[in-house]
């Protein structure tokens, strides 16, 4: 980072050549690359999921093994565990690319960094958010949640993790230059994630009770869309500042 700090073009890079691939093609390439790299280090992908399973296991052990009582706290347990687990996964988002200089090359590439980071965030969600949403119903069953609630849980965790990945991208970008940023990253990201927690846990609660949960899902979707429009901008600004 330090030897590049004299390069003036880092903040105002030159435009990409005319015959270069379009923005969508580049985003696709980024996505492919990130997925390929992640699958080569599959243990990194499994760890946040194991953490999620472990945290949900703590509650029956700490409170009660009775499924009828666990059902009442299931939505809170699932969502608290999901938020913590997605925090844990954030470390992988930019770390490797920042260490080997790839992120600087992105900033210098003449492409909109916002788009590149949006693609990276999408890859991160596919690798951490989506698997989390897929195992959340499994964890829910272990907490005594009836089967009719599982589609609602799948849908709400899917939407909620999108926002978590986007908020996390901002947090990870802000703390790019900080060593051992784990606790700071949680302190920055969790207060911003409170709306996700509230609407997500509410949708899950309604699904468990067998009531319509569409409204809460809509709000979760609104948060995700709002995050998609603004979060990559903030993340790109933070990455540029940290690369300077």
């Amino acid at each position: 980072m330090s030897e590049l700090s004299v390069v003036p073009s880092l903040t105002r890079p030159e435009r990409a050549p005319r015959n270069a691939p379009g923005a969508a093609a580049v985003a696709w390439m980024m996505l492919e690359r990130d997925l390929k790299l992640a699958f080569r280090k599959a243990s990194q992908l499994v760890q946040p999921l194991a953490f999620f399973a472990m945290v949900t296991t703590l509650f029956p052990l700490a409170i009660t093994p009775e499924l009828t009582r666990l059902r009442h706290i299931a939505s809170g347990v699932l969502w608290a565990a999901a938020l913590l687990s997605s925090l844990l996964a954030l470390e992988f988002l930019f770390r490797d690319d920042a260490q080997d200089g790839t992120l600087e090359q992105y900033a210098l590439s003449g492409r909109a960094l916002t788009g590149l980071l949006a693609a990276k965030t999408a890859a991160h969600w596919l690798l951490t958010g989506l698997p989390l949403a897929l195992i959340a119903p499994l964890a829910a069953v272990s907490l005594g949640v009836p089967a009719h609630a599982l589609p609602g849980i799948l849908a709400s965790v899917t939407l909620g993790t999108v926002t978590m990945s986007l908020l996390g991208a901002i947090g990870a970008a802000l703390t790019l230059g900080v060593r051992r940023a784990g606790a700071l990253l949680s302190l920055l990201t969790l207060p911003l994630a409170i709306p996700v927690l509230i609407f997500g846990a509410h949708a899950t609660q309604l699904a468990i009770r067998g009531q319509p949960y569409g409204a809460a899902l809509t709000l979760l979707g609104a948060l995700a869309v709002f995050g998609m429009t603004l979060a990559p901008l903030a993340a790109a600004a933070a990455v540029r500042i940290n690369l300077e």
Partner: protein, 245 residues
């Protein structure tokens, strides 16, 4: 209308001297208003027919709550100005304001929970306003933590400015989601401070306290701004001359 006075604030010695000159203009009216507000609020205003004397904590609680939000907004606006126009004075102002805002937030939480003991029978209730104030306190802690995590001051300034802007967009979303959450969970309705049906003998001291606290913030932030400027410019010659060292 010329903006030269504004552009001149970009010069650290000028900013330092201006802040020093302005401080008494905030500090003295603040002291007078707060004394007048306290006399009016704690002695002259009648006890409330429902809450007795306990409501009087509002004279500290409500102005602190107002400032806890205003200071965060000031931080975000100053941060945005610093990011867009690369104005270091704005970043110094944001850095000076953050701990004051966090203190007002803490004061709001403490006075709120003290008021809660006689009113709710418990020091802490997951009341929407107190809960969002607690989250605001975490946002302040995150902001100050991020600032402290960087050794390079310029980077700390700009990164924390991005966080403040992100935070200020999120504060209303967090607040309304907490209000909505609370309306789902809470059965008994909670009495709020600052009912609009307040007689003038209660309202006037409250307004004095609002103004007094705001001016007090102005005075403290100016003093802290001077400190920030000195710390940032400690290698410069004018600091030596200014302090006569």
């Amino acid at each position: 209308m010329t903006w030269t006075w504004f552009h001149r604030l970009a010069s650290p010695p000028h900013l330092y001297r201006t802040a020093g000159r302005l401080t008494p203009w905030f500090a003295w009216p603040a002291a007078l208003l707060i004394i007048a507000g306290l006399i009016g609020g704690l002695w002259l205003a009648p006890p409330d027919y429902q809450q007795g004397d306990a409501y009087r904590i509002m004279y500290v609680h409500a102005p602190s709550a107002w400032l806890s939000l205003m200071v965060y907004t000031i931080m975000a606006v100053a941060g945005a100005i610093g990011l867009i126009w690369r104005m270091k004075a704005a970043h110094a102002l944001a850095a000076a304001a953050a701990p004051i805002g966090a203190s007002f937030t803490l004061a709001t939480l403490v006075t709120g929970s003290l008021w809660g003991k006689p009113m709710w029978g418990t020091y802490w209730q997951w009341d929407p306003r107190l809960t969002s104030e607690l989250l605001l306190f975490f946002l302040y802690l995150g902001y100050m933590g991020l600032r402290a995590a960087f050794e390079d001051l310029q980077r700390a300034d700009r990164v924390s400015a991005v966080l403040a802007v992100v935070g200020v967009i999120n504060v209303p979303i967090i607040h309304y989601s907490v209000v909505w959450w609370n309306s789902l969970h809470q059965g008994p309705s909670v009495m709020y401070l600052g009912k609009p049906t307040m007689p003038p003998s209660m309202l006037v001291p409250l307004l004095l306290m609002f103004l007094g606290f705001t001016l007090f913030f102005g005075a403290v932030v100016l003093v802290r701004l001077q400190g920030e400027v000195l710390n940032r410019e400690r290698a410069a010659h004018w600091v030596e001359e200014e302090l006569g060292a």
